[in-house]
């Protein structure tokens, strides 16, 4: 395996952005390249993640390439997924041995529409999508199973909501009415517009671009059964498997950046990854407080990398997910020091 590191990141999230996707990404892509002194012609591979369903237009990502500058021609790819999966594709590309640097970015701008409803369009087209279940209601089905099955308590969910900054204390949490029984507003994601861009580099190059590269020592992604009723929704075997393959529990974890968009997701992710239920280390930001479709996962990897660059962590874990029931999961382990 070639050693690959995250060497730079730039990100932005706002509740409602007036900029277009291109206008949003130009400063981020420019900043991340400048921070390591690279121009687009120095970058061997570019990969992005975004959602045509959200933009309401096929091949919408092609427009955003204007933020990269695709002339002279670049080697480029795109996934209709969170940028964490675009990073995985770039990591595989770097493993092939012909490339040494990669630009990975992703973005989402949910504010013009109702993402809570738009997400229904990604569900099974015959059995589920025609019923138009909104995202919070689907997550609530899992929440009730967790609560009534004794896998968590309302108090624990309130703790997570407080830690993520969705409410100031338990009293405020319990004063909220159900938004999707048994979930309250503070249990559900607050959606944000935003984007993130990172630079990857292989061993030998990464050290020249960064004083303290965040080396990817393990990365894996897995998917669970497509139909809601097939899997025990109190578990996420794909998280467990991805975490095992990425080597999460091979050594101590200083920082865990989890893509938990619902308080109930945090319960499942922590248990499946073998992380402590009551973490002492705070995340740098929380998808529960600002969730950006297609960017939240890559942002977790960026934040975990920042923790290493700034010396706050030696070993960090980042997790990305897709689906309101944690159907698809990616786990990435990052370490500071020598490759």
């Amino acid at each position: 395996m070639r050693k690959v590191a995250v060497v730079a990141a730039a990100s932005r999230q706002e509740e409602k952005m007036l900029d277009t996707e291109v206008e949003m990404m130009i400063p981020l892509i420019t900043k991340v390249r400048e921070s390591v002194g690279l121009q687009q012609t120095d970058i061997d591979f570019t990969c992005s993640g975004s959602s045509d369903f959200l933009a309401g237009q096929a091949f919408s990502f092609v427009m955003t390439l204007d933020a990269v500058g695709p002339n002279p021609p670049i080697v480029e790819s795109h996934v209709e997924m969170d940028g964490a999966w675009a990073l995985y594709e770039a990591w595989v590309k770097l493993q092939m041995g012909k490339s040494e640097t990669a630009l990975v970015y992703s973005y989402g701008k949910p504010s013009p529409g109702s993402i809570r409803d738009v997400l229904a369009t990604q569900l099974d087209p015959y059995y589920v999508a025609p019923l138009w279940p909104d995202a919070h209601s689907v997550a609530a089905l899992q929440a009730r199973l967790l609560l009534e099955g004794g896998h968590t308590t309302i108090e624990q969910l309130a703790d997570y909501a407080v830690r993520a900054g969705r409410v100031s204390d338990h009293e405020e949490y319990f004063s909220q009415p159900f938004i999707a029984d048994p979930l309250r507003d503070a249990d559900c994601p607050s959606y944000a517009d935003g984007g993130v861009a990172v630079i990857l580099a292989t061993e030998g190059v990464a050290e020249k671009l960064s004083d303290n590269p965040a080396w990817i020592t393990g990365i894996d992604h897995r998917i669970d059964a497509h139909h809601f009723g097939v899997r025990d929704l109190t578990m996420a075997p794909s998280v467990r498997l991805a975490a095992k393959n990425a080597g999460v529990s091979d050594a101590a974890v200083d920082v865990a950046e989890l893509h938990a968009a619902y308080t109930t997701h945090e319960v499942i992710i922590r248990r499946e990854m073998g992380l402590s239920v009551r973490p002492n280390a705070k995340q740098r930001s929380y998808p529960l407080a600002a969730d950006t479709l297609m960017a939240s996962g890559l942002l977790r990897i960026a934040e975990a990398s920042r923790a290493i660059w700034e010396g706050g962590a030696q070993r960090a874990v980042a997790h990305a997910t897709a689906g309101h029931l944690l159907q698809q999961n990616l786990v990435c382990v990052l370490e500071g020091g020598q490759p």
Partner: protein, 151 residues
């Protein structure tokens, strides 16, 4: 030209293709039209409902469709006080995962009750069909509680 009429053309956002639903989903949807519920048997004898062409765990192809019960049990639910604009239901209702008798997995659908107080996990429900059916998941209007069944 005397007139200054603006040229316009309608724009319909659509997928300009159709596809067949195949031997399993197609049979299931045809069953709905006839008010029959069809699941599919896995190698271990358990029944997937709604049916898929493959086993989600082993990826094996599945072929043996079986008729399943029209009564079932609510495994989990949430309450929809104000249905969203696109929802096929206009009244408050529960959205639930329902495991029908003679099946081993569950279906997402509505439980049609007036008040959240009527909802409890484990309650027994039965299929309520629409009079006009066309081979669509909405041929099932929803599920209604079986009176006196308790939990």
């Amino acid at each position: 030209m005397e007139t200054h009429e603006r040229l316009s053309a309608p724009l319909v956002l659509e997928y300009p293709f159709t596809r067949t639903t195949g031997p399993v989903i197609g049979a299931f949807l045809t069953g709905l039209r006839e008010a029959i519920l069809l699941g599919i048997k896995r190698a271990d004898g358990t029944v997937l409902f709604p049916p898929t062409e493959y086993d989600p765990q082993s990826s094996e192809s599945l072929y043996e469709m079986v008729e399943v019960g029209q009564d079932g049990t609510v495994l989990t639910w949430t309450w929809i006080d104000k249905p969203r604009d696109q929802s096929p239901w206009k009244q408050a209702h529960a959205l639930a995962l329902i495991q029908l008798d003679q099946t081993d997995t569950s279906l997402l659908h509505a439980v049609l009750v007036d008040d959240v107080k009527q909802m409890i996990t484990g309650m027994r429900v039965t299929t309520q069909w629409r009079d006009e059916r066309e081979g669509h998941i909405n041929d099932i209007e929803g599920f209604i509680p079986i009176e006196g069944s308790g939990v």
